[in-house]
Symmetry: C2
Subunit: 210 residues, 2 copies
């Protein structure tokens, strides 16, 4: 069976480890392609152009919107974030499962345009565990931790809009669970029309031939 | 997380090996309970009361219908077939995933009453392979093989009403795929309301406390 590519949205609270899960999927299986977002915000320490984000000016971003070159875009804290269309559609056409690591506003926009996209939300085992991870990083000031926890409250209100949740307790298990969810999506009859139709036709031929 | 039980319908053409997959699920994992159907048809050679079916009279079956003791029932070739309610509801309440090995008419009835039930259709790798398996059994007359193939044509028209298909090429793989589908269903947020709500509440408490 030749497989159709699936659009996979992965969201989750800051510090929940969704980036590690995404890296694990890309490294562990050959069916994934990772979409890189475009943004007008400034690069942070250690971020790499074309890997972390495509960093562009506001004018460049707005031109991209006008050209219909983004499949979704949203604005957070005065900065644009969007998903370039060409890479996503190219990879889907090649049968790759394309991963978008985006936030809920983007996830909603994707679901509207691609109702067959699968939306996955990564949860911590508990909220306390999430806070401990953020504090434990040692790189965030108490002020930033507080902001992220407040943002997590807002984000958590959208969890029921997602198709599946993955609890990131042990990361290897979370990667396997995420992969299984996506594999399961490939088993829907609507994603196997050619195969099902060939079985139907072949059965008819055999029944007629007898 | 305490899990809610899921109602799992498994259908497939005669000879496709769905019984072997169901046995593999029951033997290989502890989350499954197998529902035994009730029927008015005569037991066949080797069939065991209470394991293959509950064999009852037409009067007993109709009394069961009147008492609302069946969650679905259908009639094939003049015989009743139905799913006793008590066992299914009892096992679901205990958190078991209850497997019903039933045909499409029953599957449709189940989906109407239990929209969250998952419907799985087991396919052969090809129609030719299905015919070879039926012929290869050596237990069916050419006449019976022909009848089953004609019935398969009818059944194949309903495949798109199922949520997922499983191709039974290698049986161990088919068992694992079926299990993964059911595990994925457990990851839906609606099946984890208590967990998601506790995360939401805990996040709010932490955010307020800071």
């Amino acid at each position: 069976m030749e497989r159709e590519g699936i659009l996979v949205v992965i969201s989750g609270f800051a510090g929940v480890g969704k980036g590690t899960i995404v890296k694990g999927l890309i490294a562990g299986y050959d069916n994934y392609a990772l979409s890189v977002s475009m943004t007008t915000r400034q690069p942070r320490e250690g971020e790499v152009e074309g890997q972390s984000y495509f960093f562009v000016t506001k004018e460049e971003f707005e031109k991209k919107i006008e050209e219909n070159g983004l499949i979704e875009h949203a604005c957070y804290v005065g900065n644009y974030y969007g998903t370039p269309r060409a890479y996503v559609e190219d990879m889907l056409a090649k049968g790759k499962d394309v991963i978008l690591e985006i936030e809920i506003q983007g996830a909603r926009n994707i679901k509207k345009q691609y109702p067959d996209a699968v939306l996955i939300f990564v949860c911590p085992p508990s909220a306390t565990e999430l806070k401990n991870r953020l504090v434990g990083r040692g790189t965030e000031t108490p002020d930033v931790v507080e902001k992220r926890m407040r943002r997590a409250v807002e984000e958590s209100e959208g969890i029921f809009e997602y198709d599946y949740i993955v609890v990131n307790d042990e990361v290897d298990k979370a990667i396997a669970v995420t992969h299984n969810i996506i594999e399961t999506m490939h088993s829907a009859p609507k994603r196997n029309r050619a195969f099902v139709t060939s079985i139907q036709n072949e059965l008819e031929d055999i029944a007629k031939g007898e």
